[in-house]
């Protein structure tokens, strides 16, 4: 089986982000640390486990973005992906999910992947749509919020459980090739092994310029980013640590939560 895992690089914490008044977009400051989207760590781990069950399997990690995303692809290789594919896109402002998805679809279309896996969402934007868009553009079956995967080697199909409301699961049997987006908690992502760290250090990434791919015209734009309306914020409690604790104790008594 040939598996493509789509990985997004996200800022480690939103605390270092700022708004750029000239572009109206979010900027990263020198203290911004980037890492792999946690949901995609689960996607990668699931692919690696499928490879362990079926040793003929290869796992390719792919990411779309500027130069800095190469560090996250290295991390994917350190965790065990066979190679890293960087779809280089210089733009660091609003990138439409359909641009990212069509870049992935365009790359994957002729490369014979049996399975494309990605996380159910990105932690930063939480749009929950890249995987589904890739599947729709390539006209492949897809399943979202997957919490169990079983590759049935006897008939080549994929059995998955989707998590839906109230903890209920729906079991599906999918023809391959297919696209799945995995929910967190499906597995425990591994740490890099020393041998993979050494291999990743010397292995080059495959670099593809986004201009060389078939990109669907954008269907929406971002007209601005704002800090949320501060008027809807709650009351910040002032004082020392102990004063705040005493204040909260007082509130709990006042509102009759405590006798």
């Amino acid at each position: 089986m040939k598996i493509l895992v789509c990985i997004k690089q996200v800022p480690d914490s939103s605390e270092t982000l700022e708004l750029n008044p000239s572009t109206g977009w979010i900027t990263y400051n020198p203290f911004t640390v980037f890492r792999m989207n946690r949901f995609d760590e689960y996607a990668l781990e699931e692919a690696l486990q499928l490879r362990e069950q079926d040793p003929g399997t290869s796992v390719h990690a792919l990411s779309v973005g500027p130069e800095r995303v190469s560090s996250t692809l290295r991390r994917a290789m350190e965790m065990g992906s066979d190679c890293g594919v960087h779809l280089l896109m210089q733009q660091d402002e609003y990138i439409s999910p359909v641009t990212v998805a069509s870049a992935i679809a365009s790359y994957a279309r002729t490369r014979g992947y049996d399975l494309i896996i990605t996380g159910v969402m990105a932690e930063d934007d939480m749009a929950c749509m890249t995987g589904q868009l890739v599947a729709a553009i390539l006209d492949l079956p897809s399943a979202t919020s997957v919490i169990r995967v079983d590759h049935r080697t006897h008939d080549g199909s994929l059995e998955v459980d989707r998590e839906i409301e109230g903890g209920t699961r729906i079991s599906l049997l999918m023809d391959l090739p297919a696209v799945i987006t995995v929910q967190s908690g499906i597995n425990i992502p591994r740490y890099p092994s020393l041998s993979n760290v050494l291999r990743a250090r010397s292995q080059p990434l495959e670099l593809v310029r986004i201009e060389d791919l078939d990109i669907v015209p954008v269907r929406e734009s971002c007209s601005g980013v704002k800090s949320p309306d501060s008027s809807i914020q709650g009351v910040y409690i002032d004082g020392t640590l102990r004063e705040k604790a005493l204040w909260l104790k007082e509130l709990l008594h006042e509102r009759a939560f405590l006798p």
């Binding site: 999910p97 929950c128 868009l133 729709a136 979202t144 699961r169 079991s171 269907r219 929406e220 800090s227």
Partner: protein, 318 residues
């Protein structure tokens, strides 16, 4: 351009969900008070179609077929597209549920429409959604003729029935096509933990607890209140620190305690959507700009691992 608004209704155990009625409100807000048309998909859904028509006055498309009894992406997408894809300019509104977020992108690609998910509000023709873990809001403007959106549960008050003539019901028979995905079965959860659903006070833990041992602080604080429960954000359940029954993110469930104390929770929008029914929200977080503070009544900027021990000390004094 004026887009014709459609909402995709959702049924759970045969009942019309609260989110469906929220979508009616959302659509009216978008269309200057005009009612949207409702797309109701399923098998034997005559009763629900009549109920929706009476409750909302909306025109209902009752799209039915034996193959539509349980949600399936390919079947539902084809059935809904049959009604909407002929329209030159449509706005299709789905709930941001497991169905809505599964279906919206595929429907959008089929309709060559813009796809905007987890929308919270609309201003004019601009859709507003949270980005960067809720720290900012982005204004998204569609360029394409048609638009498919998902709306976060709880973002809009539900449509309240008013005296209105029932809307017309159009029956559409959907044709099954061979699909590449088969439903094997539905697995109900082994046990539903009702503790957080029924609690009057929920003390909830997020990543800010740092270490599993620190959960004892959360438990100890919760124990001060009668009828209390410990809640958790999804990452804590994923790490196995607390059971999945203690979270409600991305499960479409909501909790309605009288008091909700959020400890080290950043306020991911899925978590926040689930606590919309809480009467009083107090949050403890080290980041003064954490999204959780936007929906809290009282904000305490402290590290919970130092704050809660002092609070417990004071509470023990009685």
């Amino acid at each position: 351009m004026d887009r014709e608004a459609f909402i995709v209704a959702e049924l759970q155990q045969g009942r019309i969900t609260q989110e469906t009625l929220e979508l009616v409100s959302f659509a009216r807000g978008y269309a200057g008070g005009r009612l949207p048309a409702v797309l109701l998909t399923g098998r034997n859904i005559g009763e629900q179609a009549a109920e929706l028509s009476e409750k909302t006055g909306c025109a209902i498309y009752q799209i039915q077929g034996d193959h539509l009894e349980v949600y399936s992406l390919e079947a539902y997408c084809a059935a809904i597209a049959e009604v909407v894809s002929e329209r030159p300019s449509a706005l299709v509104i789905l709930p941001h549920s497991s169905m809505g977020s599964d279906l919206a992108p595929r429907l959008a690609v089929k309709m060559e429409a813009a796809c905007i998910t987890a929308v919270e509000t609309v201003q004019g023709k601009t859709f507003i959604r949270s980005v960067c873990s809720g720290r900012y809001t982005a204004e998204i403007v569609p360029i394409a003729q048609s638009v498919v959106i998902t709306v976060l549960p709880g973002a809009c008050p539900p449509h309240t029935p008013e005296s209105c003539p029932p809307g017309p019901i159009t029956k559409v028979q959907a044709t099954p096509r061979p699909g590449r995905t088969r439903i094997l079965g539905i697995k109900e959860p082994l046990h539903r933990d009702s503790a957080v659903k029924e609690a009057e006070v929920i003390v909830s833990a997020g990543r800010g607890v740092g270490k599993k041992e620190n959960l004892s602080l959360i438990r100890e604080l919760a124990a001060f209140f009668p009828h209390s429960a410990v809640g958790a954000s999804r990452p804590l359940c994923d790490m196995g620190w607390l059971e999945y029954g203690r979270m409600w993110e991305s499960t479409g469930q909501t909790v309605t305690p009288k008091l909700y104390i959020a400890c080290g929770i950043s306020g991911a929008i899925q978590h926040v959507a689930g606590i919309r029914g809480a009467q009083l929200v107090v949050a403890i977080n080290t980041d003064p700009e954490a999204a959780i503070f936007r929906i809290s009544h009282f904000c305490i900027v402290e590290d919970l691992t130092t704050f809660i021990p002092v609070l417990l000390e004071e509470l023990k004094k009685g």
